[in-house]
């Protein structure tokens, strides 16, 4: 398995100098689901936002280290961040549908890139919605406002919207935290299908979700990477006591 993303000695800081992440080194394999888990405040979301340079919008900056995507450092100031964000898509914790129709949401990313050809756009709409397992439910109402969908459907739309851009990596930050168990299940099933062709990095909202979905997992605690291993290993036989305590539910 080839490493899609390699994080080398990354340290993150807030604007006032306090540390968010300390000296993180982690390899993320392609075509698998890597889970970043741990209690709140561990730095997982900050790390996720660095992977598509969304931290440029916040006050978190990389004090030192590199993030290599296919061998190239995306923290370099000369990086084309627009192109990067098309390759690395993100699904947020709360479903944020844009104030337009379902179709409008789906083609938004392509329109940003300048795609105008109707057949290309239609093709992307169908492809993305099918991959997110939403096509059957909405194919007859693509022109309805996206806000009329249920919470679970909206979140799958957000996933489909990212997929329409044909990314290589999909980042998910607690994507099912507001969803009911059935919708959560649909999302997790979709991810299992998607991992065959995409690199998926997931911050779960519970240890159980981490255990269900992870091919690889990394445990973060207060800005430090405690342990990283295969999913089966880390949840059944964690090497570090802190990992074990968290997995067993003794704190968190």
């Amino acid at each position: 398995m080839v490493d899609k993303i390699v994080i080398q000695n990354l340290s993150l800081q807030y604007a006032d100098g306090t540390e968010s992440l300390r000296d993180i080194s982690l390899s993320i394999p392609s075509n698998a689901i890597t889970v970043l888990f741990g209690p709140a405040g561990g730095g997982k979301s900050s790390l996720l936002r660095c992977l598509n340079r969304l931290n440029d919008l916040t006050e978190v900056r990389a004090a030192s280290g590199k993030i290599l995507l296919d061998g190239e450092n995306i923290l370099d100031p000369k990086t084309d961040v627009i192109a990067l964000r098309r390759r690395v898509g993100m699904v947020f914790a709360r479903p944020v549908v844009l104030p337009m129709s379902i179709r409008g949401n789906m083609v938004y990313g392509l329109e940003l890139a300048g795609e105008k050809r109707r057949f290309k756009l239609d093709e992307a709409v169908e492809r993305g919605l099918k991959l997110a397992a939403l096509w059957d439910e909405v194919q007859d109402r693509l022109d309805d406002p996206a806000i009329t969908l249920s919470g679970g459907q909206q979140q799958r739309l957000c996933l489909a919207r990212v997929l329409a851009n044909q990314p290589e990596v999909i980042l998910l930050d607690e994507p099912t935290s507001g969803l009911d168990p059935i919708s959560t299940g649909k999302v997790e099933t979709a991810l299992q299908e998607l991992k065959k062709n995409y690199t998926i990095i997931l911050v779960p909202h519970s240890v159980q979700q981490a255990a269900r979905t992870a091919d690889f997992a990394a445990f973060f605690l207060q800005g430090e990477l405690v342990e990283a291993a295969e999913g089966k290993e880390i949840f059944t036989h964690p090497k570090q006591k802190r990992t074990e305590d968290y997995v067993e539910g003794r704190f968190g």
Partner: protein, 287 residues
């Protein structure tokens, strides 16, 4: 002792509430009175001729068409200059500016522009546009003067409308590979547009009713023809009302009230349009 205490409190309450209600009535009744009075006295003067004919007999008869047309031109001229500039400035404040001393200075400047007396704007317009830039007493000079006066209103309203758009939309747009301007153009601006338009219309409504800024920059009382170019002076409803009510002997009362009524309808009509836009937008909102 406990008995007396509670009676005092409730007595105070009833007195207080009555007083406040009286105050409110004394405020509201004159407002209704003002409108009713002008409508009652001015309506008889309104006729097709009044609205579409040129004045005769030194303004004492005929219509007030040139004043209506003049106010329309001035409002249009004000819009042309103040709307793009105001919206762009609001976009800067809401989407680009960081919270530093420079931004603070801009905000202070806007508050100050809003507070400058309208006659001082007239002086400024006279000094800069009429004399220094040699535009003369013209629609151009008056419109430019009114635009600067209207700018703070538009900027404030537009900025508020832009800020009301949820931040999450911007984040999503950026994460899908959008630039800042693409995000503004495709999502933020369209969503903020109703609020912006409401603010623009309210600002223009004020500009349409102002007299002092146009006194020395563009308004004239007796013009035989309608203005032909932006460099012509023009008649205007507020100025017309001012002159006919203070400086023309033997001016028929009915024409005065009629002119006042037309001005009010012009201004309130804009208010109504703004309110309708605001409530329709609220109903159609997708967030």
């Amino acid at each position: 002792m406990k008995r007396r205490f509670s009676i005092d409190r409730f007595l105070a309450q009833r007195l207080g509430v009555s007083l406040i209600t009286l105050v409110a009535l004394l405020t509201v009744i004159p407002i209704i009175g003002v409108f009713g009075y002008i409508i009652a006295k001015g309506a008889p003067a309104i006729s097709w001729e009044f609205l579409t004919a040129m004045p005769r007999d030194g303004m004492r008869a005929g219509g007030i068409l040139p004043a209506i047309v003049g106010t329309f031109y001035l409002t249009l001229g004000t819009a042309v200059f103040s709307v793009p500039l105001g919206i762009a400035a609001a976009i800067y404040l809401a989407e680009y500016a960081q919270e530093n001393w420079l931004t603070r200075l801009i905000r202070i400047a806007i508050i100050n522009l809003a507070g400058i007396p309208s006659v001082v704007y007239g002086l400024f317009g006279l000094g800069l546009f009429v004399l220094f830039l040699k535009f003369g007493t013209s629609i151009l000079a008056a419109s430019l003067t009114l635009s600067i006066m209207t700018l703070p209103v538009i900027i404030s309203a537009a900025e508020e409308a832009l800020r009301a758009v949820p931040q999450s939309f911007r984040t999503v747009s950026i994460s899908l590979g959008g630039t800042r301007w693409q995000t503004i153009r495709k999502i933020v601006l369209p969503q903020a547009l109703p609020g912006i338009m409401t603010g623009v219309i309210l600002g223009l409504e004020r500009a349409a009713g102002e007299t002092a800024p146009i006194l020395f920059t563009g308004a004239a009382f007796f013009l035989p023809r309608l203005p032909g170019s932006p460099l012509d002076a023009t008649m205007a409803l507020p100025y017309h009302l001012f002159v006919i009510s203070t400086q023309v002997p033997d001016m028929p009362i009915q024409i005065q009230y009629g002119t006042a009524l037309v001005l009010i309808i012009f201004v309130l009509g804009m208010n109504l349009i703004a309110t309708v836009i605001r409530s329709r937008a609220r109903a159609k909102r997708q967030w």
